[in-house]
């Protein structure tokens, strides 16, 4: 079974802090994605990566950056957290274009 893990299930940070969200997959997948999920808005793509050290902006990249130094790990970085970044963050990986495998999510609260 494909396993996608995220470093924290719940996280509380203060405004202005630098926040790291880590995602690791164990199936040697090429493609990895970061989404945020908000009630009534569904999933919105923040960044994705097709390969190590490669990244592409999604629909809402402002205020975020990413890092992919190893194939299995894809990190989302909030350079200076703001209250409007309070959300559920979901990581996903895929090998082919047909199915995404999701982690359990990190619920981030910025106060």
């Amino acid at each position: 079974d494909v396993k996608v893990t995220q470093s924290s299930r719940y996280l509380v940070k203060r405004t202005g802090e630098k926040v790291f969200l880590e995602c690791v997959q164990d199936m040697d997948h090429e493609n990895m994605f970061w989404y945020r999920q908000d009630p009534g808005l569904g999933l919105r793509l923040i960044y994705f990566s097709y390969d190590v050290k490669m990244k592409e902006k999604g629909d809402i990249p402002e205020g975020y950056s990413v890092s992919r130094e190893k194939k299995e790990r894809f990190s989302l970085i909030l350079e200076s957290a703001s209250t409007n970044q309070t959300s559920m963050y979901l990581c996903a990986s895929e090998q082919d274009p047909y199915e995404q495998y999701f982690g359990p999510g990190t619920r981030l609260t910025v106060t």
Binding site: V4, L43, Q100, F102, P104, G105
Partner: protein, 114 residues
């Protein structure tokens, strides 16, 4: 570009009743179609997908969906729901060829009452 519309934000239903969750999409190119389910406090998991071939697709947990190209729809159905089907359901489309980046609908909350 493509877009996905899930026509109902919430669907309440009694246990053992049939249910249909509606999904319409628009796209300038051919697409692959997916339904994902998200149980409380979990990530999403794939229910079923349409890639090609038969337009009636069967998935896990007794769900099925039918691709209707003329109506650009991909509605999800189950003939008899259980309490355990209570979850958020997301329809998604990916363009054939190109980047394959999926577009998700806003989700439908299925609430099954005893």
């Amino acid at each position: 570009a493509q877009s996905v519309t899930q026509l109902d934000s919430q669907v309440p239903v009694f246990e053992e009743a049939p249910v249909e969750l509606r999904c319409n999409y628009s796209s300038s190119v051919s697409v692959y179609l997916f339904w994902y389910v998200q149980y409380p406090n979990q990530g999403l998991q794939l229910l079923l997908k349409y890639l090609s071939g038969s337009t009636l697709v069967k998935g896990i947990n007794g769900f099925e969906a039918e691709f209707n190209k003329s109506q650009t729809s991909f509605h999800l159905r189950k003939p008899s729901v259980h309490i355990s089907d209570t979850a958020e359901y997301f329809c998604a489309v990916s363009p054939r060829g190109g980047s394959y980046i999926p577009t998700f609908g806003r989700g439908t909350s299925l609430i099954v009452h005893p």
